[in-house]
């Protein structure tokens, strides 16, 4: 019977010359093992990175792109809304009964029913803030709106009306006539007879100006509106208008215009008939 392990045979086998692998082979193997040892210390982490690396990179790219696009869009929107802040002064006033600003104006001219003059305003808080901003001295309405309300959608609407024009002018320095020279609400209330009902905005203004009773109101309005117009008129044209008022028998208005003229052109050499 043969034993599974023959010790005598094993001893003879161990006496055999020991062949060795060449040093070149040893060097190759050790070098290869060292080369890859540092590159894969945690195979699980590598597998995770391989699996999720590409989706994570894609997600990051999309996120960054979206964020940048949003930032650019917001910046462009901001530019769009701030650009019309200073519209040209000669822009014709637009009549829009639904505008809350009209309601403010008609409330000034119709003190009997100020509440009715405020129709369904889209953003009444914003209108109130605009009023507050209007009361602040030395500050442009548009600027205060932009800074205070943070609602740029309302900003472009400001200069559309004569009120807006007045505010715009108030925000501008000389040579425009100071707004304080224009009659304030209490003055207008004294001059204007109470109207039976507050008419919607601009329509009411036009009607009152057409009637004899509303002539002083119309004059006041004309005076207010004339402020920006004065910028356009030459002194000669302005004097011509004053003469015209005199010939029409509107002495008060003519005097008021003349006073305005003198304030505007204090060193103007008046013609004989104007002195």
């Amino acid at each position: 019977m043969i034993e599974p392990r023959d010790e005598e045979l094993s001893r003879i086998y161990r006496d055999a010359e020991e062949p060795r692998p060449p040093q070149r082979v040893d060097g190759n193997i050790i070098a290869a093992s060292q080369r890859v040892a540092g590159t894969r210390p945690r195979p699980a982490g590598i597998r995770f990175a391989r699996r999720w690396g590409t989706p994570a990179a894609l997600a990051a790219t999309v996120l960054v792109t979206f964020t940048l696009t949003l930032m650019v869009f917001e910046r462009e929107s901001d530019l769009d809304t701030t650009a019309p802040e200073a519209p040209p002064a000669d822009r014709p006033a637009k009549v829009s009964p639904a505008e809350p600003r009209r309601a403010d104006q008609s409330a000034k001219f119709s003190p009997a029913k100020p509440q009715r003059a405020a129709p369904a305003t889209p953003i009444p808080q914003a209108a109130a803030r605009r009023d507050r901003a209007e009361q602040r001295p030395g500050k442009g309405a548009a600027t205060s709106e932009r800074l205070g309300t943070g609602q740029p959608a309302f900003v472009p609407e400001v200069p559309r009306t004569s009120e807006g024009l007045r505010k715009s002018e108030a925000a501008k320095p000389a040579p425009a006539a100071p707004v304080s020279d224009a009659p304030n609400a209490s003055e207008l209330r004294q001059q204007a007879p109470p109207t039976p009902a507050a008419a919607p905005a601009e329509g009411a203004l036009s009607e009152s100006a057409a009637t004899p009773q509303g002539s002083s109101v119309a004059a006041a309005i004309a005076n207010r509106v004339a402020v920006p117009e004065a910028k356009e008129r030459t002194p000669e044209k302005w004097l011509e208008d004053i003469r015209k008022l005199r010939t029409e028998g509107k002495a008060t208005e003519a005097e008021r215009e003349l006073a305005e003229f003198k304030k505007r052109y204090p060193d103007y050499r008046f013609p004989e008939d104007m002195r």
Binding site: I2, P4, E8, D15, A16, R20, V25, A32, A37, G38
Partner: protein, 186 residues
């Protein structure tokens, strides 16, 4: 410190990036593995190629290695698989055709080593190596796995993918033939 670590610990450490652990492991097993391959294929160039390829497999497997047994059982199983690839690639189909039956082995006598060979160790080694080269691949492999890898019959069976009885018969047959080669005068 490092040299006292077991083979399995060293392999795990290498899997975590410790290159020094691999070096220790390599130095422990390089000669037995090289001899195993060289005596199996009988050619230095081929043995070097297989040897290098075997260790590259170990290197590449470092992250997936798990201790499920002795490192030697695992690494000799890798060597066996590499040899099988080599045999298949070179048309050496004899490896699987030499399945010895127990009955054949039972008939083999337990040969005595000749007295003169006991004295002449060098000649005995030459005779043994020559007889080893003449053995069928499977029998030679079983003998070499026992001598170089110090594997038990069960471990030889696991490494070569055969039953325990087959591994045992291969080993018995190889030993019997080798002893027989040393017992008779040439």
């Amino acid at each position: 410190m490092g040299s006292e670590a077991s083979d399995e610990e060293l392999m795990l450490r290498y899997g975590k990036g410790d290159a020094r652990a691999f070096e220790l492991l390599y130095r422990r097993h390089r000669l037995p593995l090289y001899r195993f391959l060289l005596r199996q294929v009988g050619n230095r160039d081929t043995a070097e190629e297989l040897f290098q390829d075997l260790w590259m497999r170990v290197v590449n497997y470092r992250g997936r290695y798990e201790v499920e047994g002795k490192f030697t059982s695992w690494v000799y199983a890798v060597a066996h698989n590499r040899l099988m690839d080599f045999y298949r690639a070179n048309g050496r189909a004899s490896f699987l055709s030499h399945e010895e039956s127990e009955s054949v082995l039972e008939d083999l006598p337990a040969g005595e080593i000749a007295a003169d060979l006991r004295l002449d160790r060098k000649r005995a080694v030459e005779r043994l190596l020559a007889a080893l080269a003449e053995l069928p691949d499977a029998q030679r492999e079983a003998f070499l796995l026992q001598q170089e890898g110090d594997l038990s019959i069960e471990e030889i069976a696991a490494a070569t993918g055969v039953s325990r009885e087959t591994a045992k018969s291969r080993l018995r047959y190889a030993v019997a033939k080798l002893r027989a080669s040393l017992g008779k005068e040439s």
